[in-house]
Amino acid sequence: MVSHADPFLSGTSPGASSGPPNAEEMDRERRHQISRKAKDFLVHIDTLGRLLAIHDPGNSAVQSALRDLVQDVAELQAGGEDLSLVFAEGHAFVNGVWVRASKRAWEAAVMLTERLGDVEGRGIVLQSGAEDATMLALTEFLRTSPAEGVSGAEHFRRANLPGIRLIPLPSAADRARAGKSESRDHALEVFREGLETITRTELANLDLYMRRRQRALVQQLIQMAEETPEDLLGLTVMRNPTLPSKAHNMMVCIYAVCLGRLMDLHRRDLLRLGMSALNHNLGETLLPEEIFASEQELAPHERSRVEQHPLLGMAHLLKHYGFGAPIVERALASVEHHMRFDGEGGYPFAAGREQHLFSRVIAVADVFDALCSPRPHRDAFPPDQAVKLVSRQGGRQLDPVIVRRLLWLVGRYPPGSLVELDSGEWGLVLGPGMGAYPMVRPRVLLISDEDGFELDMPLAVDLGERHPRRRAWLRTIARTRDPGRMGVNVASFFFGDRLEVEPGRLDADELEAGS
């Protein structure tokens, strides 16, 4: 007999007001407050500027408007942090919050965009504790244009505004760098920005601003996977103990996105997958850092703590961010990414069901990247060996279909593999070749000549290339080496200058001709 008492009606829900507010609600409230106060600020600074155009600073109306403005600033700086206001195309951003302005505030934002543009600025940072005089001076400064022949920066300097910093417009060099959209430089830039994003992102405290940044990062990675997949996959060679440990999350995200692309997932689903991958290890941030800093193999009690991170991550997300689909998806990735495909292992709560596809993809990416990365207690496995180890786990720990996708993605010799060729040359694998056997005959960046001497300019060649007159291939991999142990800085070769050589006679051409 079913009880008529309905716990779902009387119990607490994520949105119920009876319990303490969760992180999502607090963030929303914070943003709402900032947005509301920022609109007041915009209106008041505009009003003050207009009043100063017709009255002296001592006028009571001016003083009243000034008091309002100072009050706004004080409230916006309530946490004691600096106040950052950036303007673009008439939109205003205040401490990372996009202020969706009303008409009046909008006009003020447009005015400020223009005024700051006049002094080659796109925003200002107000340090906490701004005084009335400073705010008055700032308003005065904003309503006056620089004198003829005086640069914006100089005009700002002359205004002498203590506690106020001008955020300059991007320089020509900045713009030029941003314009290199399809180059490896761009890939590197994405990597650097991505690292910054996930490093700044306190994973356990994902406010909307950070989630938007993460989303933008994943969007960029997907875009790269569509346009320059070799460059994207090339980023996975950027492994080094000097990088923050969260770089692993980015690597997993890159592999996951690439695997998703190989599975023909749509952009929407790739974005879901990428976001889940980026946050799959959230639970680790809730554990003491010392555990991960250990240079020894983990002790049993430490291991059991680390094994808690999947559930910790899931619980944290659900408790603080509710049960919206994106959060549930990430919670599932967090809890399932260490579950074994065959259902064995130490996760009794996982028994009886298959992991979500995203979790299976993330699991493969996670294991592969972990093997390729150095750990405090062990060296990294060379990529070609890691791929062999992963392939052996297909059907056991990992989904065999996804493992095979990984093999298709990285090939027998994943990007970054150091290979010695039968010609005596040494090279680094760049990615799948263009010949008949792209996975076993990849594109290689030659870094030494036949005698083993380092080349001035590395040379990209395709191992599917035949000898011009004979049936034999020009080059074949004789053996692989461990770049770590050989002291080869893979990243510097990948992202340095190189020469590209068009292959002459590819084995694939012969196959086509034969068929």
Binding site: D6, S84, F93, R192, T242, Q385, R412, G496
Partner: protein, 601 residues
């Protein structure tokens, strides 16, 4: 085709008209969805006009601003604070330009309207933006230009309130740092082939020793052959598996994720993990179920109940000390009131939902189902309520018979819809025991059962039915009259004649007497005239001092004759109008009017 110069005024006007219609489509899409016929009609009209312009120019770049949408410098859709349209919306969301290319079709336009609808519905705190929604859609004929400066500005303004991240740049720089060889002399160059023997040994020890042999096809190593075969086979083998995965993810709904989550949380509770104790796990699972209810999702409930059923069958439940809690959780997950609401919100016309409904109904306990039926009966959308009742009926089957057996003590709100359902389904077993419900204290139930008798009235059940001719409730008596009129059983006519002609007739309540006579008249026609005429000519009627009950007998008889409506009945009534006694004359005159109007009641 014209270039992208200043557009022709005529084309500008056509485009303005098209955009006006597109806004109507946007409004419809927001209310009814992008695939609604009204939306579709407006889109067709808009695209028709837009197509002409697209044909001439190849592509349209619509620039957004606070003022509206502009094309080639001309405002084609002006907007104000009061009238916010696409221009303001795009501008507000940081989309500077929306480009439409020749070949744009209705499907893609509908997709755009859907994206805009989703954007309208996004709460402010949602991480998705219009830009990311447009990006994900992967349009082929619709392009957009986001204001890149916005993202940069957001990052910049956010960075000021964040702490510094240390020397990240240094680490990256170190990784990709300039290669020393660029600055070294020829003699400094590194020789990879001449590293120390130790280094080689170490590298070899930690690496793959296999080697692939010389570069001759005929002498390719065994390993390369194996890998080649592996790579050649896998592509075809996995194709259908991947297609299935792909489809599954694409079709995935939030409730699928929630059901999966509930399963994991419940299993976590059973396994008693210290990092998420059973109480907390169950609490989170409860909130996940709450979310399914909030979304009004029957499919999600089915999934959760499926999980529950599967889990209960597992050994882990029998051995866990928390099994009782889990069992209680699943029992409480079925909330009668809320499930009814969820079921009513189902769109049964949608493919798949009826299937899920059936699966859910099969799992629900009787009390919940009856509650659902009750709600369906009260549904203001009658067509939807009817559809749901029909679907429920086709699923519940035999369970209805059992419900009716126990219905005597159930409230009428629950029993009446069940009777209606059993009747509409023609449940024979339930019909054979329906007479028991004639004793139900609620008139609504008795009435509903009598309506059922309109379909068939077995002679054996007349003994239970006919006593209701003197039921205290008029509606019940009338429902019985309708049933008897529909079936006209001879035994009923006999019974009625006896009742009207009998000595106890006069002692009955006036209303009951009237209804008895009307029923007799309706059912028996001419066969009723004789006995009714006798009552009309009652000897108790006197010029002076006629007892009220006698007058009531006369009135009842007159109404019965009016109900009979035959020539003979009419003549009898006419005779009654020609007498000297005023009240009787009036009664008969009124009855004649009723007869003419065929208004027996």
């Amino acid at each position: 085709m014209r270039g992208r110069g200043r557009p022709d005024p005529q084309d500008t006007e056509t485009l303005a008209e098209s955009l006006k219609t597109l806004h109507i489509a946007m409004g419809h899409a927001r209310l009814y969805g992008a695939s609604h016929r009204e939306t579709w009609r407006a889109m067709e009209q808009s695209l028709g006009q837009m197509g002409q312009v697209l044909e001439r120019y190849g592509a349209l770049d619509l620039e957004s601003s606070q003022e509206g949408l502009a094309w080639g410098g001309s405002m084609v859709h002006p907007e104000t604070e009061e009238f916010v349209g696409l221009g303001r919306l795009l501008h507000r969301e940081g989309i500077a330009t929306l480009s439409l290319a020749q070949g744009l079709d209705l499907e893609e336009l509908a997709k755009l309207l859907d994206v805009l609808r989703i954007n309208f519905e996004l709460p402010e705190y949602e991480e998705e933006t219009l830009e990311s929604l447009l990006w994900q859609s992967g349009f082929t004929k619709i392009g957009f230009q986001a204001v890149s400066a916005l993202m940069e500005a957001e990052v910049l303004s956010g960075a000021a309130s964040q702490t510094a991240t240390g020397n990240l740049d240094d680490a990256v720089q170190q990784l990709v740092g300039l290669r020393l060889s660029d600055f070294r002399t020829e003699s400094d160059k590194r020789n990879f082939g001449q590293v120390s023997e130790d280094a080689v040994q170490r590298a070899v020890a930690g690496s793959d020793l296999a080697g692939l042999g010389p570069s001759d096809d005929r002498r390719v190593s065994e390993e390369e052959q194996q890998w080649r075969v592996q790579f050649a086979e896998e592509g075809t083998e996995d194709a259908h598996l991947i297609a299935n995965m792909h489809e599954a993810v694409e079709a995935e709904e939030p409730h699928d994720l929630l059901a999966r989550l509930v399963s994991i949380l419940v299993r976590t509770a059973l396994s008693n993990r210290s990092e998420l104790p059973p109480d907390e796990a169950i609490g989170l699972a409860r909130q996940a179920v709450e979310e399914v209810y909030r979304r009004g999702n029957a499919v999600g409930l089915v999934r959760i109940l499926d999980e529950g059923t599967a889990l209960m069958a597992e050994d882990v439940v029998r051995t866990s000390p928390f099994a009782g809690r889990v069992r209680e959780f699943f029992a409480n997950a079925i909330s009668e009131r809320r499930i009814a609401r969820v079921l009513l919100s189902l769109d049964l016309a949608k493919a798949g939902e009826e299937h899920e409904l059936r699966r859910l109904v099969e799992r629900l306990p009787d009390s919940v189902l009856q509650s659902v039926l009750e709600s369906a009966a009260r549904d203001p959308d009658q067509a939807r309520g009817k559809r749901l009742r029909e679907t429920l009926g086709s699923v519940v089957g035999d369970r209805i018979d059992a419900w009716l057996t126990n219905a005597l003590t159930q409230p009428p709100e629950r029993v009446v819809p069940t009777i209606a359902l059993a009747r509409s389904l023609g449940r024979e077993r339930a019909a054979s025991s329906r007479y028991k419900l004639l004793r139900h204290p609620s008139r609504l139930v008795r009435e509903e059962v009598l309506r059922w008798y309109q379909d068939n009235l077995p002679a054996a059940e007349l003994q239970y039915v006919l006593p209701l001719l003197v039921d205290k409730d008029a509606a019940v008596r009338r429902a019985l009259a309708d049933a008897l009129l529909a079936q006209k059983p001879y035994e009923a006519v006999k019974y009625l004649r006896k009742a009207v002609g009998g000595a106890t007739f006069s002692s009955l309540d006036a209303n009951i007497k009237r209804d008895l006579c009307i029923t007799l008249g309706l059912v028996a026609g001419d066969g009723a005239v004789e006995v009714l005429a006798q009552r009309l000519e009652s000897k108790g009627v006197k010029m002076m001092g006629t007892a009220p009950e006698v007058l009531a007998d006369v009135e009842a008889a007159a109404r019965g004759l009016a109900a009979a409506g035959t020539v003979q009945a009419k003549q009898t009534l006419k005779r009654g109008t020609s007498g000297l006694f005023g009240p009787k004359k009036k009664i008969c005159t009124d009855a004649l009017q009723r007869l003419e109007a065929r208004n027996p009641w």
